[in-house]
């Protein structure tokens, strides 16, 4: 036992003073009594003559001496050397990744890390500032350089097990930045070491890595999909189970659909191996399948997975006018495209006339994701959906036609344009094209160079341009496909697919079926028109039943709170249809539980990583001060015994409800005492 303030022992000189007070008994108060006759009888057997004997059994003095001794000891600030933190500041980085939920140490890795952190915080010198960083999917400073231990404990308590990985490198960088401001900082990393760190990480402050976890025995569902089966109508679930442990494992994989057990597989998985299971012939109406690994292992999070059918809704394309074989062929070859053809309505056409406008045609126009006008312009634009004009014969409210140009030479204007992905425009000739000055909303994709007879460049006209007007996507191809050899070129199907992709984005897969925990999801309503409605909102029901509402921001609906594992359901506005996606922990980094003995990349020559232990000072003045307080209270109680006894008697009498019964004799009274 050592002392930080040994000078306090000079206070020990007060001890003889207390004894002297008792010897001298300076504080006698004189009190007149009728007679000391009875008191003599009392004192006779108590009083001893020698002053030293007088001190015997004086409980008050003994308590006062003990109190003073405890107080002096507390003031002297004794400490012992203990394994723990001894620096002037400490930074605790708590890993809250999914692997920290493993229960190979009871109650869990995170819980024991929290307990260890609490203990370390308690052992810190009082002047040490505490910083607490949670290394979850995003590193987060929970407490910054605080002297308040209660805050530190609260911050530690507030850390919840996460579902994703841990951003340890950012946490370490944060810690390093904080350590740079306060010298003598120790950085404690409480983790299982299943983290990714950059190769070269320079850190300020002393780093101590405290690993948690015992074994890596864990099996996980590493993949689960639900796809349309080969037969077409029924569905197939595909699951994959990985064994991350070092022992062969035997687990049963159960697959449920709609809450009913559909299939079960007994899988023998070699260490480090993967086994797959295929459940075929699921009923076509199946919305979601669930796979469960029966039995228990260290990490329960990855023993369950959900999958939904990828929600591929066909793109509805309406072709107005013309009888373009090329377009029809291209559309029919594109997967997930459902196209219909309507005759142009009466007043639009100039060359080709189709006098009747049938109501079904109107409906088809209204519901279409994309409307293609081939050699047509409508009198009124359809209310929703993207538009593609091919060789528009007349001006519309979106653009103006100024004439026909002959023999433009196609030239790529922007190589990085998504429409031109994988597309080569060499060897393509165009007979003539409609001249359309580029509207201000548009972005030219392909230009056509015009040359005079001598082959000199004159000017350029846009052949293909695209843009967004009033929240809808519009593209214009200025030449008739029949007046070009483009449809015969290999570039045509690619260009066409890119065009459709851009014009009807997401319609083919409005949602990813699988999302990693914490990943952002862009929600695309099945009806693209909804997006243009500023008031549209998406209501998301989380796996635990709670709901969240997402408002559109810059025309997009983004949901980022995917921290829970399971099935999320989305409803757009007041629409009936529900979409769904699942969040699963398909993360080998987290499912592989084997704790690392050192932090990867940090075990350098400085020996900063690893289980290094060092001594810190653990102070003991608090319990001593508490002891002193207890002794002081005890002394007071002893001193007030008579009063307390009277109080007790009075209370007891009051409780019995007995008023003071007058009695003439002390003999009657004596029983009370």
């Amino acid at each position: 036992m050592n002392f930080l303030a040994p000078g306090a022992f000079f206070l020990g000189l007060l001890l003889p003073v207390i004894v002297a007070f008792y010897l001298l008994k300076l504080r006698r108060v004189e009190r007149s009594v009728s007679s000391v006759y009875l008191w003599r009888r009392v004192v006779r057997d108590v009083e001893a003559n020698a002053p030293w004997q007088r001190l015997r059994f004086n409980l008050l003095m003994i308590l006062q001496l003990l109190f003073l001794i405890a107080l002096i000891l507390a003031v002297a600030r004794p400490f012992t050397w203990a394994e723990g933190a001894g620096g002037q500041a400490a930074i605790f980085i708590l890993d809250s990744s999914a692997s920290m939920s493993a229960t190979d140490v009871t109650p869990s890795r995170l819980e024991s890390a929290r307990q260890r952190a609490r203990q370390l915080v308690g052992d810190l010198p009082d002047s040490a500032r505490v910083t607490i960083i949670e290394a979850g999917q995003e590193a987060q400073v929970r407490l910054s350089a605080s002297l308040d231990r209660r805050q530190a404990y609260q911050a530690l308590e507030a850390i919840r097990p996460g579902m994703g990985g841990s951003d340890m490198s950012v946490a370490l960088e944060l810690a390093s930045a904080i350590a740079a401001r306060q010298p003598g900082t120790e950085i404690f990393v409480l983790s299982d070491g299943r983290v990714e760190l950059p190769q070269r990480l320079t850190l300020r402050g002393r780093l101590r890595y405290l690993p948690f976890g015992l074994s890596g025995e864990n099996q996980a569902i590493s993949l689960l999909t639900l796809e349309p089966g080969a037969a077409g109508s029924d569905l197939t679930a595909f699951a994959q189970v990985s064994n991350y442990g070092e022992e062969p494992a035997r687990r049963r994989l159960s697959i449920f659909a709609g809450g009913r057990l559909i299939n079960a597989f007994d899988l023998e998985i070699a260490p480090g191996g993967v086994e797959a299971a295929l459940a075929e012939g699921l009923p076509p109406g199946t919305e979601a399948v669930e796979a469960r690994l029966d039995g228990a292992d260290a990490l329960a999070l990855d023993d369950r997975a959900l999958a939904v059918l990828p929600q591929a809704r066909p793109v509805r394309v309406t072709l107005v006018g013309g009888n373009n074989v090329f377009i029809k062929t291209a559309l029919s070859l594109l997967p997930g495209v459902e196209f219909s053809q309507v005759e142009p309505s009466a007043p639009t056409g100039e060359e080709e006339t189709a006098p009747t406008a049938e109501p079904p045609a109107e409906d088809a126009l209204n519901a279409a994701d994309l409307t293609i006008y081939d050699n047509q312009v409508p009198a009124a634009l359809p209310p929703t959906g993207s538009l593609l004009f091919i060789a528009p014969p007349a001006s519309t409210e979106l653009f103006t036609t100024t004439g026909i140009v002959q023999g433009p030479l196609p030239r790529v204007l922007d190589l990085n344009d998504p429409i031109l992905e994988h597309v080569t425009l060499a060897e393509i000739n165009v007979l003539d094209a409609v001249e359309i000055p580029l509207p201000d909303w548009a972005l030219p994709v392909i230009g056509g160079d015009l040359k005079d007879d001598k082959g000199q460049y004159v000017r350029s006209v846009p052949l293909l341009f695209r843009g967004e007007v009033d929240g809808r996507r519009v593209a214009v191809l200025a030449f008739d496909l029949h007046h070009s050899d483009l449809p015969l070129n290999v570039a045509f199907p690619l260009l066409w697919a890119n065009l459709i992709d851009w014009l009807a984005p997401g319609a083919r897969s409005p949602l990813p079926a699988q999302v990693a925990p914490g990943e952002r999801v862009t929600l695309t309503p099945p009806n693209p028109a909804l997006l243009s409605d500023a008031a549209v909102q998406a209501t998301i029901t989380r796996p635990d039943g709670s709901t969240a509402v997402v408002q559109p921001e810059n025309g997009r609906l983004i949901f980022a709170d995917t921290t829970q594992l399971g099935l999320y359901r989305i409803r757009f506005g007041s629409e009936e249809d529900e979409l769904a996606f699942t969040v699963n922990l398909f993360a080998p980094q987290e499912s592989n539980l084997l704790p690392a003995d050192s932090l990867p990349g940090l075990e350098g020559p400085a020996g900063t990583g690893g289980r290094d232990s060092q001594l810190g000072q653990r102070e003991w003045w608090r319990p001593l001060a508490l002891l002193a307080l207890g002794l002081l209270m005890g002394e007071w109680l002893v001193y007030q015994r008579a009063g307390l006894a009277r109080l007790r008697d009075a209370l007891a009498a009051g409780l019995r409800g007995i008023t003071r019964r007058p009695a003439p004799a002390g003999a009657q009274r004596k029983g009370r005492k």
Binding site: V33, L38, P664, A667
Partner: protein
């Protein structure tokens, strides 16, 4: 003296009481109590043979007719009784709230009035108050009540001077009395001499009642801390640390002392009655003293 010692109403109630004597005792003059003497009352006592000089008026002629011998018919004499009050007037009595000496004087006054009403002789002696002992000489008759009250009201503890030994004073008192009678001692008995003095009185065949008067402060002392206790009488000092244990021990000591006194009194045929001065006088007289057989 400004206020009357007792109220009219109270005195009227007192007249219904009488002092009880357990034994017949010889008196001085005609009274209402049975005497040990034979005399002239209507209560027949005994026969005895006639001897020369007897009053022949008292010969029982019926007995003579039957037996032809002279017998004298004897009757019980009814005489008065002297009631002695001994009041401890030491400084230790002049203490407490209510004051013990005042209380003792009022008790003596009430009992004395009862005795005077019953045609008994009353004498009061205050002892413990130094040399000059105030004495109320034996008087008879209800008319002496006012004088008795005045005497009692004037009783005071001496302000200074060494306290006398009650044993010697009581011995002297016992020797001086020609006729023993009822004797009521009112004292706090806070002196070892009292027990000795009582022993001397008991030897003179007094019928003694000891009224042990204590103040509430003496029964339940409310003391705290380190104290130097000073005797009001002798100025003797005792240093105590009044904590729970000491107070508990004091109460135990008081109880033991009272038990010893009770035992002492019982063994000598005395009535012993511990009294706290907070007990109202009415209750003491009309309940407790009757129950103890002092009054009836």
């Amino acid at each position: 003296m400004s206020e009357p010692f007792f109220s009219e109403d109270f005195l009227q109630r007192l007249e219904r009481l009488a002092l009880a004597a357990r034994h017949a005792m010889p008196g001085q003059t005609q009274g209402e109590r049975r005497s040990t003497k034979r005399g002239q009352s209507v209560e027949f006592a005994d026969f005895r043979p006639y001897v020369m000089g007897d009053d022949f008026r008292r010969i029982d002629w019926n007995a003579y007719a039957r037996l032809e011998r002279f017998f004298i018919k004897l009757f019980v004499e009814e005489e008065d009784l002297t009631v002695h009050f001994i009041i401890d007037a030491s400084r230790s009595m002049d203490w407490g709230e209510p004051n013990k000496l005042r209380y003792a004087a009022r008790v003596a006054g009430a009992l004395g009035y009862v005795a005077l009403t019953g045609l008994d002789r009353v004498t009061v002696t205050a002892i413990g108050g130094g040399n000059g002992q105030p004495v109320f000489p034996a008087q008879r008759g209800k008319r002496q009540a006012l004088a008795l009250f005045a005497f009692l009201q004037a009783l005071k503890a001496p302000q200074n001077g060494t306290p006398g030994d009650p044993a010697a004073q009581l011995r002297a008192y016992a020797a001086a009395q020609s006729r023993p009678g009822l004797l009521v001692v009112l004292s706090d008995l806070m002196h070892d001499g009292w027990v000795e003095g009582l022993r001397a009185l008991a030897a003179r065949r007094f019928e003694i009642s000891v009224l042990h008067i204590l103040a509430p402060e003496e029964i339940r002392p409310e003391l705290n801390g380190d104290l130097k206790l000073i005797d009001a009488e002798s100025s003797a000092e005792v240093e105590i640390t009044a904590d729970y244990e000491v107070l508990t021990r004091y109460c135990q000591s008081l109880a033991d002392w009272q038990a010893d006194l009770r035992q002492f009194c019982r063994s000598r045929g005395m009535a012993y009655l511990p009294i706290e001065t907070t007990v109202p006088l009415e209750e003491l007289l009309f309940t407790w003293l009757q129950r103890q057989g002092v009054l009836r």
